[in-house]
């Protein structure tokens, strides 16, 4: 039996799609005829998406065009897969939620804004897919790591349920020895990387590593190769806020009686660093001016 696959793309960089179609396993299945690509913005030349068994949606919802795309595609598939962190949690494009859409347009097109026409209008803020439509499986990662895609493909072929890992990167990380007592104070990641022991836990060496607050599944790809985790797999299943979780861990580990300037300096761009991939999915998913309605109270508010 051949499973037909469609891949549609919203606000994305094409990385996830590439990761999928360039994977060895995927191509084996393709060659065996176990799967068939019916639609993909990258490799098929078709105008319209036809009915498919499985629809991979990559990228987050950023424009009204994206909304239309989803509306059209949603009914055409029996299984919807949010593929990649952008689709699941908003991803890096989600950091646009720090700015109002007018400002975004202005910063890109500057004064010529009025003359631009035919551009799809931006939604008020970036929306992760799963917050507005029901998806069958979420596969996070920037791009989704190979072992996870393999598991997904296996489940599609065998018809078994696909489940995400439940634990954090630390569980898979070879550097984790179950101890996070700091050997050095917390420092800015870029500065600290110059004198780092690559076979010791980064957190212990005072380097911000998102591992403890990030979903496993990547086999600790970055930490085991000498770079701290940046959190691309998104939050753990029990949480929506990677930032909250990592702040709590940092506060506990690097508590100090000294003034806090140094710690604050170590994290110069808190939202950008701690919610790099998940801002639109978190409890507070946007800048106050982007998505909050303010209601003035008069007097003592009776």
């Amino acid at each position: 039996m051949t499973i037909s696959i469609g891949i549609i793309s919203l606000a994305y960089c094409a990385g996830c799609e590439l990761a999928l179609i360039s994977m060895k396993r995927f191509n084996e299945l393709l060659a065996r005829g176990a799967i068939d690509i019916k639609y993909s913005t990258l490799i098929t030349d078709k105008e319209e998406l036809e009915k498919v068994d499985v629809l991979f949606i990559t990228g987050s919802i950023r424009t009204f065009e994206d909304v239309e795309t989803i509306k059209k595609a949603y009914s055409k598939a029996s299984k919807i897969i949010a593929f990649g962190t952008c689709s699941c949690y908003g991803g890096i494009p989600g950091l646009a939620n720090l700015s109002k859409r007018e400002d975004i347009i202005k910063s890109i097109f500057n004064d010529i804004t009025p003359t631009i026409s035919g551009l799809p209008e931006l939604t008020r803020f970036v929306i992760p897919l799963q917050t507005v439509v029901k998806v069958d499986y979420s596969v996070p990662g920037c791009p989704p790591p190979e072992p996870l895609i393999e598991m997904l493909l296996d489940s599609l072929i065998s018809g078994k349920e696909f489940t995400l890992p439940q634990k954090s990167v630390c569980e898979e990380c070879p550097l984790n020895d179950g101890d996070k007592k700091p050997l050095k104070e917390l420092r800015r990641r870029l500065i600290a990387l110059n004198d780092i022991d690559v076979d010791k836990c980064f957190m212990k060496q005072g380097v911000l590593c998102m591992g403890p607050a990030t979903l496993a599944g990547c086999r600790a790809l970055c930490p085991s190769r000498g770079a701290p985790c940046i959190g691309c797999m998104g939050p753990l299943p029990s949480s929506r806020d990677q930032a909250a979780d990592i702040i709590d861990a940092l506060g506990g580990i690097f508590y100090t009686v000294e003034p806090l300037e140094k710690i604050l300096e170590a994290i110069p761009d808190p939202v950008g660093l701690l919610s790099m991939f998940t801002l639109p999915y978190s409890t507070i998913p946007y800048h106050k001016e982007v998505g909050v309605k303010e209601v003035k109270r008069d007097g003592d508010g009776d």
Partner: protein, 659 residues
């Protein structure tokens, strides 16, 4: 969570507390409202829920309604939780299925003039508690056995007293002292104020009792190097430094000392004299077994001599002795590491260390002592004669924001005692005490002050000395402003005594770190659990502090505190078990990734990361857990929670308040 589907049955009791609550809050309105919640088995109010009638009503209602959890809206958990928990127990429920809402202190009393809003707030608080209690679990306290032995660290008067008290109660005591002899600072004193008892005469007998007490195991010249475990079950490692003299053979004849050719500075006499390389610190030392100081011993330095070995009639000298680590198990620990004088060479204006004729209070004690460097004759170190004029300066380093902000508590009386020594030894001498005030607040202190003040030739200058300057002839000039004559004065003397401030002894820091105790920034004194109500307990259960290590103290206070600490230890050891507090942390192993954040933030070492079926997970030792929630607050996986205060319980409360 939807309370409408709940299969639990909650009983709610609201107390009027006379008019304290009922006078502000409309309780009947609240009862009406919460009766509509389906899971409520019973909702009742009572004029005084804590009265016998109130409690009986409560028990009956719980029993008849078959409620399985109880919310009581009344007053503070601090005062009334045990009472209501007992009621639950009597009604056949686990006492931790109780939620006590304080609608008195937190509502009716603080919103007396806003009755409607207060009623609304009370309702929300009660409803939030109802939501919260749905997830409460029955908890229980665990009993753990206690090892019937105690460790006392520090062999000064505090440690001696505590060890004796505990030993007298029939428990084994391990007394550890880092010096070759017990006795501590008190052994250095000549006399004690205000009674002028001979210090060693009252301390010596106690030292000997300690040495021979069947229940006391004495480790001198030893240090505690590791402490693990928890209250009732500590395992302690003690490092015995080699004496190079076998304790089992030495008979204390001290021939070895007489024949030793090598000399070095005597620490016990505060650097005022010399001792041999093999030595006992002072004649009354306990144990009376010499120690070889390898730094000055000719054998250890140059490989020659061995005079002591040749001459020892008991063949007790053993140059091959090695360090030895002893491991013991104890149920409780007393820290009595005492004090030392502040390094007053940092108080630059008083020139300590720059001229020989400036001594500290403790050095003067040694000079005055009959077993001191001058055998009781007061000789100024730089003059080699008796001083005729002596100045005593109080508060050196103490009460000084540049050094120690606090009062040393003994300097004033010590200065009076020292003037008495001087006048006693040299009736013709003149003594000037520079003290901007004399604090004589203890028993018999003021009387002693009066007595010394009336001695002719003792002058008390009510002012802080501003400076001590040396003169080329070895005398010293003290400058001060005398408020009595509104003028600067300069007094030239032969000897200056500086009553130095007091700090926790050097060894305290390592013990503090081993036990994870808190310490003050200035002085390094250990912090008690509560300054008023728990003066000898610490934040670590089963660890007690006494004497000058918890703050400057005189001897009577030290001894009283030592006995207090001992009685705490005795009551713990004689009960024989401890009960853990029930609100311990619980790990959800399906969520735990074993990252180790929790074990790193736990100040009580209660969490360990353990391999279970190929996966690392955190495991909580309930006996060590204090339920502080630091781990909960730091766990990035939300995998660890405090019993009956889970994340979803807090969520439920937050949501209910906003409803």
């Amino acid at each position: 969570m939807n309370i409408l589907d709940s299969s639990t049955k909650t009983a709610v009791f609201i107390c009027h507390c006379g008019t304290n609550i009922g006078g502000v809050i409309d309780i009947s309105k609240i009862i009406e409202n919460i009766k509509n919640i389906p899971s409520i088995a019973v909702a009742q109010d009572h004029r005084f829920l804590c009265s016998t009638d109130g409690i009986e009503t409560m028990i009956n209602s719980i029993k008849t309604s078959n409620a399985d959890r109880v919310v009581v809206a009344a007053c503070s958990f601090r005062t009334h939780e045990p009472l209501f928990q007992e009621a639950l127990h009597r009604a056949g429920l686990n006492p931790y299925l109780l939620e006590l809402v304080n609608i008195r202190e937190l509502c009716s009393w603080v919103h007396e003039n806003e009755r409607d809003r207060a009623t609304e707030k009370a309702l929300k608080m009660i409803r939030a508690a109802i939501m919260k209690i749905q997830d409460n679990q029955p908890l229980k306290r665990i009993r753990l056995p206690v090892t019937p032995a105690a460790l006392v660290i520090g062999g000064g008067i505090a440690g001696i007293r505590a060890a004796l008290d505990i030993a007298e109660a029939g428990f084994t005591v391990y007394l550890v002292e880092k010096e070759p002899s017990i006795g501590g600072n008190m052994a250095k004193l000549d006399k004690t104020f205000p009674t002028l008892d001979c210090s060693i005469c009252i301390l010596g007998p106690l030292m000997n009792i300690v040495a021979h007490h069947p229940n006391i195991k004495l480790y001198t010249y030893s240090e505690v190097i590791s402490i693990n475990g928890r209250v009732g079950d500590f395992s302690v490692k003690i490092l015995k430094k080699p004496r190079y003299v076998r304790e089992d053979l030495c008979r204390g004849c001290l021939i070895c000392i007489a024949k030793c050719p090598s000399k070095t500075v005597d620490e016990f006499n505060m650097g005022l004299s010399h001792r041999k390389a093999i030595y006992v610190p002072f004649p009354q030392a306990v144990p009376r077994i010499p120690v070889i100081d390898t730094a000055s011993c000719l054998y250890f330095q140059k490989g020659i001599c061995r005079a002591c070995e040749k001459l020892c009639p008991a063949n007790a000298i053993d140059f091959n002795q090695k360090e030895e680590v002893v491991e013991i198990k104890v149920g409780a620990i007393v820290v009595a590491t005492g004090f030392e004088e502040y390094n007053i060479s940092q108080v630059y204006e008083y020139s300590y260390g720059r001229y020989p004729n400036i001594v500290t209070g403790l050095q003067l004690e040694r000079l005055a002592s009959s077993y001191g460097p001058t055998e009781g004759r007061l000789i100024a170190p730089g003059l080699n004669r008796e001083p005729r004029r002596i100045a005593i300066i109080n508060c050196v380093g103490s009460r000084d924001e540049r050094h120690l902000p606090y009062c040393c508590r003994v300097g004033c009386m010590a200065s009076l005692k020292h003037s008495w020594y001087i006048k006693h030894l040299m009736p013709e001498a003149e003594v000037f005490i520079f003290a901007d005030e004399v604090r004589a607040s203890g028993k018999g202190f003021e009387e002693f002050y009066r007595r010394v003040r009336l001695i002719p030739g003792v002058y008390i200058v009510k002012s802080k000395a501003s400076e001590v300057r040396g003169n080329p002839d070895g005398t010293l000039t003290i400058k001060a402003f005398d408020p009595a004559i509104s003028s600067e004065i300069a007094i030239t003397v032969d000897l200056v005594v500086l009553e130095a401030g007091i700090v926790a002894s050097r060894g305290t820091e390592s013990i503090k770190n081993l036990l994870k105790l808190g310490a003050l920034n200035s002085g390094g004194f250990l912090i008690e659990l509560h300054p008023k109500l728990n003066p000898v307990e610490t934040a670590v259960d089963g660890v007690y502090i006494c004497g000058a290590v918890s703050g400057p103290k005189d001897i009577p206070d030290t001894v009283a505190q030592a006995s207090a600490a001992a009685s705490k230890v005795i009551s713990l050891l004689s009960r024989g078990y401890i009960e853990t507090q029930p609100y311990s942390a619980i790990v959800d192993e399906s969520r735990c990734s074993g990252c180790g954040v929790c074990s790193s933030v736990c100040e009580y070492s209660a969490i360990k990361i353990v391999k279970k079926k190929e996966r690392s997970v955190a495991v909580v030792d309930e006996a060590l857990c204090k339920g502080c929630g630091a781990c909960v607050g730091s766990c990035p996986s939300r995998a660890i929670e405090i019993a009956n205060l889970k994340l979803n319980q807090i969520d439920a409360m937050v949501a209910e308040i906003l409803r």
